[in-house]
Symmetry: C2
Subunit: 297 residues, 2 copies
């Protein structure tokens, strides 16, 4: 019953988001090749976890998720730019992403770099241009500052730097968490917080949602590490065991597989506990949390 | 006399900007290496033409140029990120910039890519956080949207793409201008327009300042092409004749050296004409315009 609810909700808003993203790129007055490169990666078949978190958070506040379409598009642009740049030969040098050739394999390294730059830049414009009926000027500025902090040197980019510095080293659990909280956690957190900002949440709700997102982000990453060890290559769309091959520190490595599974359950439990404390209509967010813990790709 | 005025004005506000930039990077809670990489290129000894345009525009409106410090820092971050990415091996593959090793030669391609990403992201946060006494929420949003348009696929990034597509081709004058208007012109224009937005300029002033910046940007680029042909390598800080060596279309190539010099004078004349029409106190902007036309680096 409940899974059905999330399924149809996800399908509906993912479709609306796809249309929004395509329209936003098509309306750009720019050389065709850069638009093609931006769209190629935006339509790469991602799970849209971040936009779904935003839409489900709005739903929890009883607000029409359509009000979050522009912010969801901006978040997905930032997530996509980070994947394009991470895949470059000078970074992770990945040829495939979600079973498709990576952006630079299709468009070349230079256009891929610039497509990432253009997506990142556009994400701020998209939020800046949200109609005043949907978000006040102060709300838009809060979103812009929070998004920049989540994505920049203090957030995702900082996590990526720490991840690179940690390669070929055995990390402590604390160092591993620093990487994940920044590299993936901050943008996941922003996806939830953006919904709360749009909804005009009060301070306690913001705090509980922030903690919910923190635990969900860690759960997401632990499951990622577990899947890299135990997943099905065809379903994952990437080779299994790549973390080990790349000498990356992982939760199963530091805690054993059983320990990692226990840590995952612990984070999921904490996440749900914080959700319940918000007093909101959280059934979709609870389902999304279970989905993160049980996903197979 | 007048040159003296610009000299001391430039010296004063360049120093304030240097302090602002350093403080903004130092206050980041991020891995040390990314902050070092960001500062390395921000302090690369650039001419700070864009910030000076902003400060001089504020001065023309009778407004304390200090009110533009954060926006100037944001513009310089965007300009600097674009240089870091342009210099990468997959783009122009330059080893030196202003006589110093390029960012990726010092920090490696991955950190250089991420430092560019972090600077671009931070520029929007810096504008979003301007105190309300200096700029209202609506003013900050206008600045953010205009800056994104100037820097992104419709502006600087689009110009860079067109520039790459034009390599090893003989371009028409129209194609060459498209490249320059976007690659360098849009951010120069934003530097002027940002001052006007902060000053609350009325529509006719905005239009004339926009045209002023358009002509100044073209003059800047024509002089760049002329210097590549006739400049002094030591003063320029880069090899003379690199455009020819890289098979780049230039104004002297399309118009002859004499024709390019005439086109430069024409653009300078137009720029000054638009300035005068604003009815503002424009002596610093006039001097800056002459400086662009007569600079030797």
């Amino acid at each position: 019953m409940e899974t059905q609810a999330l399924d149809s909700f996800a399908k509906k808003y993912k479709q609306l988001l796809d249309v929004e993203l395509r329209n936003l790129i098509e309306e750009l007055n720019a050389p065709a090749i850069i638009k093609e490169s931006m769209i190629y990666s935006l339509e790469g078949g991602g799970k849209r976890i971040r936009p779904l978190l935003l839409f489900a958070t709005l739903n929890a506040f009883g607000i029409d998720p359509r009000n979050g379409l522009q912010v969801a598009a901006a978040i997905e642009m930032i997530h996509t730019y980070s994947l394009i740049h991470d895949d470059l030969p000078s970074m992770d040098n990945d040829d495939f992403r979600r079973g498709k050739p990576t952006n630079h394999k299709v468009f070349g390294d230079a256009i891929a770099t610039l497509a990432g730059d253009a997506l990142l830049t556009y994400s701020f414009e998209v939020i800046g241009r949200i109609p005043t009926e949907t978000a006040s000027s102060d709300t838009k500025l809060s979103l812009i500052v929070e998004m920049a902090q989540a994505a920049g040197a203090e957030g995702m980019v900082g996590g990526q730097v720490a991840d690179m510095e940690g390669e070929n080293k055995t990390l402590t659990l604390e160092e591993l968490e620093y990487i994940h909280i920044h590299k993936t956690g901050k943008l996941l957190r922003f996806s939830v917080i953006a919904g709360a900002i749009l909804a005009g949440a009060h301070k306690t709700q913001l705090e509980n949602l922030s903690l919910f997102a923190h635990h969900l982000g860690l759960a997401f990453q632990i499951q990622d590490d577990i899947l890299d060890l135990t997943g099905n290559q065809q379903i994952l769309g990437k080779p299994v065991g790549s973390d080990t091959a790349n000498h990356k520190s992982t939760y199963p490595q530091l805690l054993s597989l059983e320990g990692a599974k226990a840590a995952l359950q612990q984070q999921i439990h904490q996440a749900k506990d914080k959700l319940i404390k918000t007093g909101l209509e959280i059934h979709l967010l609870l389902e999304l949390t279970d989905l993160v813990a049980t996903r197979n790709h």
